[in-house]
């Protein structure tokens, strides 16, 4: 790491042969970042030496590389925005940004990119900011390996960790985000990849996605967020290899889907969530190869969801496997493994010979009448469920897995 | 010694004791007689606090029965049918009761040998014959040397030998100054043992007086006939 950093610095320093180099630090001519930015020309590199710089309202309006050496701290002292970038080709690296101002009128960020393309924000720390990184109307920005932590207490007094608005081709990877309202927030964003991030202990959603088509997120971990992950009003979203875990509590979801079309949810882990996967008005989603384990409800699928396919998933030790709010079913469940399945496989083809009904009567009742949950695991309820599983009267008769797997999918 | 005044007891709609008055003198053997269902056992159970009476007063010595249970330490009771926890042995029952009653029994050993029960003591009670159990019952009643003995049909089920052993014991107790209350259907037995008779009829005392007086009054040759005459 140190070697890389040194090489990097040497490279940049040598590039200073044809581009200008500005040094900022207590022992240098320029003692504030503002002065350094002020004197820099387009294409320059500004080095900021270790120390704490209490500054805010910094602006970059031309191409620039801003490097923090040994993690200098820029402390916005909770007044306004710390750094606003309005030019293309800006790199920001190696800082600790702290204390962007809380405001009910302005979405003050530690670092904001406004119509700034081809930029990069990497290896920074963000502490106790209102919004940490705010990218607006920008393209080709790389946000990587930042550590973002907030001290959010209430939703109305906190901003998002990484906030994207009308962006395209943004790559968010290797960041860890906690203590904000939403860990990562995307609205009107296209062709983004969100990968290998860890979003945890945010007040609302670990990841929040709205009106954003053709995006992909994979290999992320979302855990212990107030309400899990929400993906809404979007098409062609590819979600794979993520972990949704421990979103446990009132109105908490592993993954909440609303109005999502033509998307894939594959090879994810849903563990210990109140609701693993919630789907409302979603069409043509392929849900495949996921693991649902120890959730309250593994999947809640509302009747306005159609043509979704659930296949080769594992359902293990969930309180309820599938819940729905209607007798109608327009989705396909096939070849999943259900640990509740008690059928047999006489022809030894690995597929159970009798279908599995994953919707319990009781889950349907609680869907209609929440207080009925207090009767969970009561003997009366068990008897009722048993009777219903033989003669379905109220549960959707067509919501069955006709080919349940006998063995767990690995 | 024992003073009963206006004693009332009903079981549901059935009035068993109707304002019964009676006195039992110290150092006597008093027999309570009457036909089946006349209230003999109920009266005894009221004395013991086993049945809760509905009205009237009972005084034993100077103590007025009111729910306090201490007075029972002066009473030894032998119920009509001996009923014991079935899994225990006779010696365990005796140990248990000695354990529960403050001041342990000094007489148990003596009584066991007196009633020839030494070999039966370690057997579970459920394996013992009715008569043997009745003897254990007698030991339980007698072993604390109580001032008052209440014996409900004491000789029922006993063989002649044991029966006379028990009767001798009762006489001996009286001789040592005890007050004994006894019920029995066997009039000859009462004639043999009792000084006084309380004749219960319809929940009241029909006759109360010395046995010989009753016989003399009726001019019959024994108690059985005397009572038969009195009833006719």
């Amino acid at each position: 790491m140190l070697v890389l950093r040194t090489i990097l610095i040497i490279t940049i320093m040598s590039s200073a042969l044809w581009a200008g180099l500005v040094q900022v630090g207590s022992n240098y001519h320029y003692t504030t970042v503002a002065e350094g930015l002020d004197v820099s020309l387009s294409g320059d590199t500004v080095f900021v030496h270790p120390g704490t710089y209490v500054e805010s309202g910094l602006a970059i309006s031309h191409a620039l590389t801003l490097i923090g050496l040994d993690n200098p701290i820029i402390d916005g002292n909770h007044s306004g925005e710390i750094l606003t970038v309005t030019a293309d080709d800006v790199i920001i690296e190696g800082f600790t940004f702290k204390g962007s101002g809380l405001s009910h009128l302005d979405e003050n960020a530690a670092v904001r990119f406004e119509e700034a393309n081809n930029g990069r924000i990497s290896h920074n720390r963000f502490e106790d900011n209102f919004f940490a990184i705010y990218i607006s109307k920008s393209e080709n920005v790389l946000i990587e390996n930042n550590i973002i932590s907030g001290l959010a207490q209430t939703e109305s007094r906190s901003g998002n960790g990484i906030h994207l608005w009308y962006c395209k081709n943004i790559n968010i990877s290797g960041n860890s985000i906690s203590g904000h309202r939403d860990g990562i927030y995307l609205e009107f964003v296209e062709q983004c990849e969100v990968t290998q991030n860890h979003s945890t202990e945010n007040l609302r959603y670990g990841l929040h996605f709205m009106f954003s088509n053709h995006n992909e997120y994979n290999n992320n971990r979302f855990d212990n967020n107030g309400a899990g992950v929400a993906v809404m009003y979007s098409r062609h979203v590819d979600m794979h290899n993520n972990v949704f875990a421990d979103n446990w509590g009132s109105a908490a979801y592993g993954l909440l889907l609303k109005d999502i079309y033509d998307s894939n949810i594959t090879d994810n882990q849903f563990n210990r969530n109140t609701v693993g996967l919630y789907s409302e008005a979603c069409n043509r989603i392929q849900v495949e190869g996921n693991n649902f384990e120890n959730n309250g409800w593994a999947v809640k699928i509302m009747a306005n969801s159609m043509d979704n396919v659930f296949t080769h998933n594992n359902f293990l030790a969930n309180t309820f496997d599938i819940a729905t709010n209607s007798r109608q079913n327009f989705n396909t469940f096939s070849q999943n493994y259900w640990n509740r399945y008690r059928g047999y496989d006489l022809d030894k083809d690995g597929i159970g010979d009798i279908p599995f009904h994953p919707v319990k009567l009781f889950s349907l009742l609680t869907e209609k009448n929440e207080p009925a949950l207090m009767l969970m695991r009561s003997i009366f309820v068990e008897i009722m469920d048993l009777a219903e599983s033989y003669i379905p009267i109220l549960t959707p008769a067509t919501l069955i897995d006709a080919e349940p797997l006998m063995r767990i999918n690995s | 010694m024992i003073n009963i005044k206006g004693l009332k007891k009903r079981f549901g709609r059935l009035e068993v004791l109707k304002e019964l008055d009676a006195q039992i003198q110290e150092n006597t053997i008093t027999a309570i007689v009457g036909h089946n269902g006349s209230g003999k056992t109920t009266l005894i159970k009221c004395l013991l606090g086993l049945d809760k009476y509905d009205g009237g007063d009972i005084n034993i010595k100077d103590f007025k029965l009111n729910g306090d249970w201490n007075y029972r330490s002066q009473i030894g009771y032998m119920p009509q049918v001996a009923r014991f926890p079935e899994n225990l042995t006779a010696s365990e029952v005796i140990t248990m009761i000695s354990d529960l009653r403050i001041g342990s029994s000094t007489q148990a050993e003596e009584l066991i040998s007196y009633f020839r029960l030494v070999d039966e003591m370690e057997k579970p009670l459920k394996t013992l014959s009715g008569g043997t159990r009745q003897k254990v019952n007698a030991i339980v009643a007698l072993m604390f040397n109580p001032d008052i003995l209440i014996l409900d049909e004491p000789t029922a089920g006993l063989d002649p030998v044991s029966s006379s052993l028990l009767k001798d014991k009762i006489q001996a107790e009286k001789a040592s100054g005890k007050t004994v209350i006894i019920t029995s259907h066997i009039m000859s037995e009462i004639q043999e043992l009792a000084d006084t008779i309380l004749y219960l009829l319809d929940g009241k005392i029909f006759f109360d007086g010395p046995v010989n007086e009753l016989i003399a009054q009726t001019g019959e040759k024994n108690l059985e006939r005397a009572i038969a005459k009195m009833m006719s």
Partner: protein, 260 residues
């Protein structure tokens, strides 16, 4: 007090000779041990045992308790002619049954837990607490019924009806009410209704250790807010023990007036 302890001692002595206790211990022991051997983790074992505890303990306690009371008739008669107070005798009989029944449960479940999983926290202790509480509650109810009803067949019949009511019917009635009055806010009502069934109280206490806390919280329900904290659990435990104290008290009152 001494008398009470002595009565308990003789009760134990008498009871422990019966085969009942060995069978009862063995059932819990084999079940718990078996659940562990078939690959359950302590949480899953607790969850599986929960249904057994809620089903078997009330049934055994109430039926066995009533029969025990009837069979102790001789013992009562023998002791009541002795200088012993009725309260000592009644409590002695009650404790003399409730203590060994709960001890047997603790051993049957606790020992396999110890050697399979060590000392556990949370759900394990609640499982033990609920099992013991239900034993005490239903033994108290058993005694109350037995004191009130002289006839054995009637008494045992009543215990089974009462058990069916609490174990099964009551929840059916709640469900019916919840749906019949669907349009009204029912949370307070369900909260109150849950206090009036000891089996439901036990079930809720245990569910709070497992999944219901989060499930109930789904709508931020009053129910979970109430039961989801220490105060709510304390109220549930208190209500459960009230379910024990009131029948014991009523039973004693009837016992003190009873003719033998």
């Amino acid at each position: 007090m001494m008398t009470l302890l002595k009565i308990i001692k003789y009760q134990l002595h008498d009871l422990l000779r019966g085969k009942w206790f060995i069978i009862y211990t063995a059932v819990f022991f084999l079940l718990t041990d078996g659940l562990f051997r078939f690959g359950g983790d302590p949480g899953q074992v607790s969850l599986s045992l929960m249904n057994v505890v809620l089903f078997i303990i009330p049934l055994v306690s109430i039926v066995f308790g009533t029969m025990f009371f009837y069979n102790s008739r001789e013992f009562m008669e023998l002791l009541l002619s002795q200088p012993i107070s009725r309260i000592s005798l009644y409590l002695g009989l009650y404790l003399g049954l409730a203590l060994p029944l709960s001890a047997v449960y603790l051993i049957g479940v606790g020992v396999p837990f110890m050697y399979h999983a060590g000392i556990q926290t949370g759900s394990y202790w609640i499982l033990l607490l609920v099992g013991v509480s239900l034993t005490w509650v239903f033994t108290a109810l058993a005694f109350l019924i037995a004191v009130m009803s002289e006839q054995r067949v009637k008494g045992v019949g009543m215990t089974i009806v009462l058990w069916l009511f609490f174990a099964i019917l009551y929840d059916g009635i709640i469900l019916f009410i919840l749906f019949a009055l669907e349009d009204y806010p029912l949370e307070k009502l369900t909260l109150i209704l849950s206090l009036f069934n000891p089996i439901d109280l036990g079930r809720i206490l245990m569910l709070l250790q497992f999944d219901i806390a989060a499930l109930m919280g789904y709508t931020g329900a009053l129910f979970s807010k109430f039961y989801g904290n220490m105060f709510g659990s304390a109220v549930a435990v208190f209500a459960l023990w009230t379910w024990c104290a009131i029948p014991v008290w009523l039973g004693y009152r009837a016992f003190s007036k009873k003719d033998f």
